[in-house]
């Protein structure tokens, strides 16, 4: 088997694509997801060491399955020494068994099990489905490797006893929602980094997009899966324009739109159009549609705010989420003027108490209305309460510029 491109990059892509499939085979055979996950991780590491030197094997997936099964055999044997299990589980898999099955979705559903906390589900998904090493995941979340290893191992313990199978029809929709939520969190973690000073940790956004593509490829007619993938693409398209020198935050209205990634926008728009036509509009589709309207405007002042306002209205009714209401208040301000937007925000104080975004939006709307002293006061209040360094710098700078 020979593949184009540099062997290193090929190997990594291939390994990560194979990871959940190999895990599926091994987990099914041994009926122990937690142990299988360890064995597959070791097989991936061995492949990453050997393949770039020895060349790709003829059947990479089969190679990985064999390596993982061998490792699994060692692991199980040491357990068996304690637990006295039968020997028949140790037979090698037949090649047909390896090639035909794609368990990516089964593994993903298990990793995003609603029993797990979001932090655990994210870590486990990135390792078992994404094929990232514990060290890489730890690095992305800026925690020590030992901490991340523990988080993953506790997540797996929690899944002991959970069946390795697709959820039944009665719970499929709810379980898919958990999966999409985890992918959404991974994307956001990368896009608006909640820790540290860097605004983008692209590797996490890129990984979320890769995983969303994998789900979409396997559930091509699900409109919310398409909606989430479209939302990610349409949001990620603006990334090149979202930061200025030294990681400074550039707000949507001030971005150089020529730097937006048009290929991602085209792909995202096509996805969302096709999804919406299929009916059953959901929240990811609505968010994607809003992102598409923003991406469609050549200049900020060309933005179709009335249409965005309508969509936030639907989204607000669908979710009851106060952050959506805050975004709707912005759309109201853009369509009907800042005074009406500010009025809506006053009603949100109880539902988002002390949230810096309330102050930040108030500041913008007061600025729109020409009330500089109030705008400055709210920019300062927002800066004092945000936990994002780039956002704080932006807000401090806005206050400073206006106060001149």
């Amino acid at each position: 088997m020979s593949l184009p491109g540099p062997v290193g990059a090929t190997v990594e892509d291939l390994l990560r694509q194979c990871a959940p499939q190999v895990l599926g085979v091994v987990a099914r055979r041994f009926g122990d997801f937690a142990l299988a996950e360890d064995a597959v991780q070791e097989a991936l590491l061995a492949a990453a060491r050997h393949w770039p030197v020895d060349g790709l094997p003829d059947n990479p997936r089969g190679w990985l399955v064999q390596a993982a099964v061998r490792r699994m055999t060692d692991l199980v044997r040491s357990e068996v020494a304690r637990r006295r299990r039968e020997d028949e589980v140790f037979r090698e898999p037949s090649p047909g068994e390896v090639a035909d099955r794609d368990d990516t979705l089964v593994v993903l559903f298990l990793c995003c099990h609603p029993e797990l906390t979001p932090a655990s589900a994210i870590a486990l998904t990135l390792r078992a489905v994404g094929g990232l090493t514990t060290a890489e995941i730890a690095n992305a979340f800026l925690v020590p490797e030992a901490t991340m290893a523990q988080r993953i191992s506790r997540a797996k313990q929690k899944l002991r006893g959970a069946s390795f199978a697709m959820p039944g029809p009665d719970e499929f929709a709810a379980r898919l929602r958990s999966v999409l939520h985890v992918l959404y969190l991974i994307f956001n973690e990368g896009y608006t980094s909640s820790v540290g000073g860097a605004l983008h940790r692209t590797e996490l956004s890129g990984e979320a997009i890769r995983l969303a593509r994998a789900v979409h490829a396997r559930l091509p007619t699900d409109p919310e899966v398409a909606g989430l993938l479209a939302l990610m693409l349409l949001t990620d398209a603006r990334r090149p324009a979202r930061t200025g020198p030294n990681g400074a935050l550039v707000p949507l209205a001030e971005q150089d739109r020529s730097r937006w990634d048009q290929a991602l926008i085209v792909e995202g728009v096509e996805l969302i159009m096709a999804a919406v036509e299929r009916g059953a509009i959901g929240e990811y589709q609505l968010q994607a549609a809003i992102a598409a309207i923003h991406d469609d405007a050549r200049r900020a002042e060309d933005t179709d705010w009335p249409q965005i306002l309508g969509m936030y209205g639907l989204l607000e009714r669908m979710t009851g989420n106060p952050v959506v209401s805050l975004n709707r208040a912005i759309a109201v301000a853009m369509v009907h003027g800042p005074a009406q937007g500010l009025e809506l925000i006053d009603a949100l104080d109880d539902r988002l108490p002390g949230h810096y975004r309330l102050d930040a939006v108030r500041a913008h709307l007061h600025e729109m209305a020409g009330d500089v002293p109030r705008a400055v006061a709210h920019y300062r209040a927002a800066a004092a309460r945000t936990t994002s360094v780039p956002e704080q710098r932006y807000l401090v700078d806005k206050a400073a510029r206006l106060a001149r």
Binding site: G196, G197, N246, G247, A248, Y379, R380, A383, A384, R385, T386, T387, V389, R393, L395, V396, D397, A399, A400, R401, A403, R404
Partner: protein, 134 residues
């Protein structure tokens, strides 16, 4: 080599008692560029272990629990408190160099480019005992 924690507190510096949100835009930009360059220098030298800024005192809570009843959780400490941590650098280097880095950080540019003279506290981390023949 040892590890040193360089602590920066809120509060008036020698040359500057104006909060940053009241500085001119250019002065803020110059200050951020300075911090960015300092971080890069420490990384490039292989000295930086970690550097973080803490979220504002408006979000701070203080927890006290004596084991009886419920824990007492209060807001603050507030910025009036003199010893209020704003951020830190953790560096792995010599004492001499740690003091040099602290001096540099202290002289970060403020309004009109004047070094602000922010006090930086240098604290060595405890470590394993040195080898000994005794």
């Amino acid at each position: 080599m040892a590890k040193f924690l360089l602590l920066m507190n809120y509060g008036p510096a020698t040359n500057c008692d104006l909060p940053m949100d009241q500085w001119a835009h250019e002065d803020i930009a110059a200050h951020i560029q300075f911090q960015h360059d300092l971080g890069k220098e420490l990384t490039d030298n292989g000295e930086l272990v970690d550097a973080q800024g803490l979220a504002g005192p408006e979000l701070a809570k203080t927890v006290t629990f004596t084991g009886e009843g419920a824990p007492v959780i209060t807001d603050g400490p507030f910025p009036e408190s003199k010893e209020l941590l704003a951020g830190y650098w953790l560096v792995d280097t010599t004492l001499e160099r740690a003091l040099e880095i602290a001096a540099k950080a202290s002289a970060a540019p403020g309004p009109n480019g004047v070094p602000i003279g922010q006090p930086i506290e240098v604290r060595e981390l405890m470590s394993a005992p040195a080898s000994s023949d005794l």
